[in-house]
Symmetry: C2
Subunit: 248 residues, 2 copies
Amino acid sequence: MRPHELPEIRHLPLFRDMMQVHFETLMLGAYAQSFPAGLELMRQGDPADFLHVVMEGQVELFSQWGGRECTMAVVRPVGTFILAACIKDAPYLMSARTLERSRIILVPSSDVRAVFRRDPDFAVSVIQELAGAYRSVVRHAKGLKLRTSRERIASYLLRQSVLAGNVASYHLPVEKRLLASYLGMTPENLSRALKTLEADGVKLDGMRVIITDRASLAALAQPDSLIDGPDPDALHAGVNLPPVSGDR
Amino acid sequence: MRPHELPEIRHLPLFRDMMQVHFETLMLGAYAQSFPAGLELMRQGDPADFLHVVMEGQVELFSQWGGRECTMAVVRPVGTFILAACIKDAPYLMSARTLERSRIILVPSSDVRAVFRRDPDFAVSVIQELAGAYRSVVRHAKGLKLRTSRERIASYLLRQSVLAGNVASYHLPVEKRLLASYLGMTPENLSRALKTLEADGVKLDGMRVIITDRASLAALAQPDSLIDGPDPDALHAGVNLPPVSGDR
DNA sequence: CCGGAAACTTGATCCGGATCAAGTCACGGA
DNA sequence: TCCGTGACTTGATCCGGATCAAGTTTCCGG
C-alpha cells in the first residue's frame, strides 16, 4: 500500500472514528492492487471475502439474470462497496468490473466482522454506512417504479448539475450505454429520449450536458428530496452513479 | 403494553442480544397502540420519530411521487420497519398505512440512537438487520430491472409456495391490486397475466393459488437465490411481501 | 338480508419502450 | 497514421403493458 493511501482510508466515514489499533489490525490484513480496465473483480454469487475500497478509477456494480444484465451502481474514489455481503458473510448479490484502470484496497471481510464486534465506534460507523446505502437503494427503486423513462433521465441530468454546484454545463461521468442501463432502459431509448428532451431545457453535445432552461427541466423532473436526495451519506454508499464537476 | 408482548419483542433478532438494562430503557420510552384498518401511520418526508414494531396486523409501506403511488413492502408480525431513517435521524422515504386492524409498538428513535452507541451487542444486531434490509431492496431492484412482468409474477408465486414449504396450494397473503403495485404493474395487467400463466403451471381461484406444474412454473420463473432468496434475515427486514402458510 | 363500495375481471385501444437493423462516429492500438 | 472495434445514432417495426371503459364479483355495514 502506498504511503498516502493509508491516511486517505483513515479519513473515510467508515474508518475515521475507529480506534487506531483496530484500524491497524484491519490494514494489516489488507492489500492494494491495481487492475486494468474492463476486469471482472467479482461475480455475483461469489463468497464475500473482501471489503473493497476504490482508491483510483471507477468500478461498475451490475447484476445478471437469465442472459440479461443491468448496472446497479458505479463506485468512485474514495468509496467502499459490498459492505453488506461482507458483514453477513453471504454471497455477493452483484458483480463488479473496472470501468478504467483502478486501484483497489481489499480488506478481508473476516477482519471487518471481527473488528466491528470489538470496536463500538466502528460498529456505529458501519451502521451509518449501511443505513445510507439502504436509503440509496430505496431511492433508486422509487425512481424506477414511480417515474417514466424520460422523467428518470431528466431527474438524473438535473441532479448531476445540482451536485456539481448548479452548473449549466458538465460532462457525463459515465458512458451513455451504462447510464441507460443504470436508469433502466436501452441505449437506443436513452439516445432518442435525449433528443426529445431538447424541448424540455437540456441538450447534449457528445458527453457534454448543457442545461438551457433549468425551470423547464425541473418541471419535467419534479425533483424530490425523497428520491433524488440530497442525502449526504449516499455519496459513500456505493449505490449511485458518481457526481461530476462542472465545465469551465 | 401487554404482558405477553415484551418477551415477544425481546426475542426479535434486533433485540435479543442486547443487555437487559438497555432493553428496559428502550421499552420504558416505548408504547403500544392499536390502529384501525386503512390508517396512515406516517407520511414520507415526516421526521423519523419512532421505530415501529408490528405486533399484530399488516402494514403497507408505499411511496408517492407526482400523483403516482407504489407499494414498496408489507410488514407483518413480528417485524420492524423504518430502522434506517431512525438511525440517520432523517425523514422517512416511505409512507405507511395499516392494511387491517394492527397493533404497533412505537420506540422513540432518539432512544434507539442512544442505546446502540452504548450497547455493542445491540449495535451488532442493528448492523445485521440493516445489512439484511439492504440486500432485500437490492434483490427487489434486481427483479424489477432484470425480469419482465410475467417473470416477476411467476417468481413471486413460486417463492411463496417454497416459503410455505413447497405446498401446491396456498392463499395470497395480500390483495391483488397491492401485489400488482409491489411487483411494479397495474392490476389489469396482473389479472390478465395470471390468466395466461395457466399455461405455465399455475392457476388462481380467487385468492387461492394452485400450482399445477411446478417444473413448468420454475422454467418461466428461473428462481435465483441472488434475487429470490433464501435470505434468512429478509423476513425481518421489512422489505418483502409476507410469507404465507399453505392450504390444508 | 340487502345495498353499495371496492376489488377484480374483461375488452378495446393506445403508447412507451424494446428490438432489429443499418448506418456513423470516436477512440485506442498497431 | 490508419485501421478496427465498440459506442452512439437513427430508422422501422413490434410488443408488453398502460389506459380507458364497462361489467361482475366480493365483501362489509347497515
